[in-house]
């Protein structure tokens, strides 16, 4: 019993200590905290909100790209405004973005020296107490205590795993350590106290680059960032080992040995009345790049599906099989203003297998691509291979890549096609 009380006491005192610390931090930092509002010019009302914080005495405010994404895509329709702790509002200019890490810099007019957030020089350590600041759901500025839990496992673009409540509207707000230095920027949540932050190094780099040379055109800056990010991603995918794995003991498919591509599996072996036995292996990149609320890019999806007929005629098996492959969808969301319609072709292909040379596969192969309107040179691609050489068995190999160059897309397609075969 004594131990229990001691524990409760310790916990209580700890919370009190934390609360005091939070109050102190909030009081000191609040003049440099802002709510960032996107105002629709035609209606004069705000269309989206987020948080931001000042990082230089000249009036540079950091926030998330996704808070101001509508302005970045359609500057003629919106304007960006800040709202400070005293209720003052004024327009700000968008000066630089990092679309891959979801960061943006806006600049406000300043009259004299102003207090601002210091960016930390060091990374936090696992278990360290951090404080997230922001304005959730337009309810007013708050401070949320939480814990640093290292970087998100297996991510391609690093994110900090923060245990603490991050809510919408807090996006773009800073996360500080006990010495009030910024170590991360609120960016996303998966609910239940799991929040994600952009590591502060990304902001340091963006701010450094901005000071060295401010970008001339935001769209061009975004295009360059998207282009180099896909080069980095595709290089990692193409140069790492493609390990050959068995699917249902009958087919060979490649698994790319990179930590950020994760695979899942499923089959219908438990369904006795199914006419076709199916086994599915599914690998994908868990993250994507936000461009606007209806336009995402940077996703990678790979799927293999093995099918075996159970007491079916060949014709019926192929009829049902055709239905399975008739509607391959896209991997990312994009609208009329963002991309062209898909252009497709198809042919019968027998690739020279790199995995199992004697057991080649003959596929009906379909390739589709669509071009980005605002970012020339980037494409979404889709490939679908459906085996047509076995009477009672089928293997579907499929992938989608979003926002890649033609060269990378074709290199990946060629390598992918040759990595699939029968066992």
């Amino acid at each position: 019993m004594k131990i229990f009380f001691t524990l409760v006491f310790i916990l209580l005192s700890h919370t009190t200590f934390a609360t005091e610390q939070a109050e102190e931090i909030f009081a000191q930092l609040t003049p440099s905290l802002y709510q960032i509002k996107l105002i629709d010019k035609a209606s004069g009302e705000k269309s989206s909100i987020g948080s931001g914080f000042q990082i230089s005495k000249e009036g540079i405010i950091a926030t998330n790209y996704h808070v101001i994404s509508s302005y970045a895509r359609h500057p003629e329709k919106y304007r960006i405004e800040y709202l400070d702790h005293q209720g003052n509002t004024a327009e700000v200019d968008l000066v630089s973005v990092d679309v891959i890490n979801d960061l943006a810099l806006v600049k406000r007019q300043v009259n004299g020296d102003m207090p601002y957030f210091k960016l930390s020089d060091t990374k936090p350590i696992k278990g360290e107490k951090l404080f997230a600041l922001g304005n959730p759901h337009d309810l007013g500025m708050i401070v949320v205590p939480g814990t640093y839990n290292g970087l998100k496992k297996e991510s391609f673009n690093e994110r900090i795993h923060f245990t603490g409540s991050i809510n919408s509207g807090m996006s773009g707000g800073p996360v500080v350590n006990k010495s009030e230095q910024v170590v991360g920027i609120n960016v996303a949540t998966s609910g239940n106290q799991i929040g994600f932050l952009v590591p502060h190094e990304k902001l340091v780099k963006l701010f450094y680059d901005y000071n060295k040379e401010a970008p001339e055109d935001i769209k061009q800056q975004m295009a360059a960032q998207l282009f180099s990010n896909q080069n980095k991603l595709m290089k990692a995918l193409l140069t790492n080992t493609w390990q050959s794995k068995e699917l249902a003991g009958k087919a060979m498919f490649p698994v790319i040995k990179v930590p950020f591509i994760r695979c899942w599996g499923d089959s219908n072996a438990d369904k006795k009345d199914a006419l076709i036995l199916a086994a599915i292996a599914n690998c994908s990149l868990d993250e994507n790049t936000y461009l606007s609320s209806h336009f995402f890019t940077g996703s990678v999806e790979i799927e293999f599906r093995y099918m075996q007929a159970k007491n079916l005629s060949d014709n019926k098996f192929y009829h049902l099989y055709q239905k399975q492959i008739a509607r391959a969808g896209t991997g990312n969301r994009a609208g009329k203003d963002d991309v062209s319609e898909y252009q497709c072709n198809h042919d019968l292909i027998t690739p020279v297998s790199t995995a199992n040379t004697s057991k080649t596969i003959t596929n009906k192969s379909v390739f589709c691509t669509r071009a980005y309107k605002d970012f020339p040179g980037l494409f979404d691609v889709l490939y679908l291979g459906a085996s047509v050489d076995k009477n009672q068995q089928a293997l579907v190999s499929h992938f989608t890549l979003a926002g890649v160059s033609q060269e990378n897309a074709m290199a990946f397609t060629g390598k992918f096609m040759e990595a699939v075969s029968w066992k």
Partner: protein
Amino acid sequence: MEVAMKVNTEAMKDAQVGNTETEPAIPVSSDDLPIEQGEIIIEEITRNHKLLHRHRLKQNNITIGRNYQNDIILTDPHICPQHLSLNYSQDVWCINDNNSVNGTSLENKECKKQDGNQQVLNDGDVIVLGKSQLRILFKSHSVVDTIAFSPFESLIDLIRHPVAVLTSIALFILITANIAYLNQPTEINISQLFVSAFSMSLLFALWPAAVALVSHLTKHDPRILAQLGISFTFFILMWLSDLLEEIIAFNSASNSVLGLIIALVPISLAFSLFWLNSYIGFHVSSKRRIVVALSITILLFGGSYLLQYSKKPEFNPHPQYSATIMAPSYLIAPSNSVDSFIEQSNALFEQANKAAQQD
């Protein structure tokens, strides 16, 4: 005198043939020329110029009207009891309106309408009285050439044989049941398949039945067996062309010319079906038959194309590709290498760029 007498007896004989109730002909004076006997064909026709009755009259005076003393009795209430009379003299027929209430008008071959009273009749003229029409023809009226039996006739004879009709319907039911079986993703029992296939064949039988009904209504021979046989034979042929199209789509790469050509087969099949339907069901000129068959074909395919086109969204975010696959036994074409596919696909990027710049 002798000569005149001879002529008179001949005239009398003629008169007896034309009208047995006439009084014995009064011998005409020897100075007059014998009176020539008029002969006329009067057709009662509908407003669409369809024949109702045909009268052949050999007399010089013809009365037409509603009462029972007339030579031609018409029941149309808009016609007067003694509406009009036709008189033959000096080689011409004249029309006389007896002050009828609704009058009489005359339409000649050039479709010119004029008042009918005291007019000279020509071959092919149409008399309009009340709401009825009479077409006047003389025995010298020329008829169109005889139409020889076309080779279709023997084909139709073969197809309309009850055994052939039953066979084609049975084959159609089998094909429909097979298609339903292939498309069913779960287990299905045979009786269920055949019930739905049978109802499908009933549905498809509506078309030949409708054609036969229309030809019956338009006073033609319905020939229902021939219509059924021809229609079901063509439904089977269309299924075959579908199969052929599928095999070609499966074996060919995109943009193949063969795929485009094969798309024309169902259209020409539909045209042939409609042409034969009209050939069996209606006696119309060949030009008209082609026009009718062509219009139905255009209506059918153009309509379905328009329907598809109107449903097409302004922007389709999903890829549209041909994913026709068939069992390996249908695989005829050789397959290509990855390099050729990559080369082919490279061209798509240029297309996509163009499409992106367009709007």
